[in-house]
Symmetry: C2
Subunit: 190 residues, 2 copies
DNA sequence: GTCTATAGTAAGATAGAC
DNA sequence: GTCTATCTTACTATAGAC
């Protein structure tokens, strides 16, 4: 095994361990010691790869969010290929895909949407969600002043619905919630 | 000055100081030492009255939220007295009042809605907001299953709008945002 | 790149006098 | 009820060998 794959393995192990520890304890209560113990790595390695606890958390979020966006983008693309052209319908397809991702990665969704990250994380995450929604909301052809409020509402509703789904016990309940929320979003956007 | 008023004064000073410190530094970065310094009190007093940093934060939230709810309730009552009977209109009156409060107490609204409270605070606050919205949403005559999604959406939209207003630079911008968001809420509720 | 061992530090919490 | 002084605990972060 080459050096670089060993390093990549360590990095991956650390991220996987962090995923579990942050999910169970939240950011503040999570300890670096616990993370490295589960990863079978050392404190020094963690600092080498990430620079600290906050950066580790951010790296995890970056992975999660870019994955979610990629998933949604793919769904929208497929819908387009299938002939869908209505902007609102496309937005709903993307949102549905995002919400499915929230359910499938409940642990991460809970972690990030429950708050309590490192200083400044809330703002960063908020901005990230909003940029994503804004890009999607352009589909709706929203205009200037109205646009701000509309984007705010859509962002918030989708991400909060994702959180609420992530704490559902059964998939049925989560799906029903998604259905109902998306109906409301359709109403808002039309 | 009687003992009890002295004690009440200390309590009040501590809360006032905490309001400033938490607003500037957030929960995690705020230090007890700084709070007692500004309050002209002592660490011992703080622990005597509140039991710790987390409880101090919660007490501040309790004051804020119950004030907001009282304000909204008053507005709804007055509208009723003035002859308004339409449920949606009453809900909007309450919401408007809530949003006005967010603007007027920007510092607290920012503090609590920006995240980063003590462990479990997010959940507690979320529940508090939701209970309040649920009580109000009953006005709309929402039914069972649909109700959950509706309450979720309304809660989210109103509280997030409050946050966004609280970070506005000028009152004009904040009011415009409130107007637009309430228009959307009207659309959702009708 | 990875590890062990240690240092530094900061802050929340407590004890006990007044 | 209020205060001062102290404690103690837990953790991040670093230094330096391999």
């Amino acid at each position: 095994m080459s050096v670089s794959t060993r390093a990549a393995g360590t990095r991956t192990s650390l991220l996987a361990a962090a995923r579990g520890v942050f999910a169970e304890s939240g950011f503040a209560e999570a300890s670096i010691a616990e993370v490295v113990a589960r990863a079978g790595a050392s404190v020094g390695s963690l600092y080498h790869h990430f620079g600290g606890k906050a950066e580790l958390y951010l790296a995890l979020f970056e992975d999660y969010q870019s994955g979610q966006e990629a998933r949604a983008a793919t769904a929208v693309r497929e819908a387009r290929v299938a002939g869908e052209v209505d902007p609102l319908a496309l937005f709903l397809v993307g949102s549905r895909s995002y919400l499915d991702g929230c359910w499938q990665q409940r642990d991460l969704a809970r972690t990030f949407l429950a708050g309590g990250g490192p200083p400044g994380f809330e703002l960063l995450a908020r901005k990230r969600y909003r940029d994503w929604t804004r890009r999607n909301a352009l589909l709706l052809g929203a205009e200037s002043d109205w646009g701000d409020a509309l984007v705010l509402v859509l962002t918030t509703v989708i991400s909060e619905a994702g959180h609420e789904m992530a704490v559902c016990d059964h998939e049925d309940a989560a799906q029903r919630l998604a259905d109902n929320v998306l109906s409301l979003v359709e109403k808002i956007g039309s």
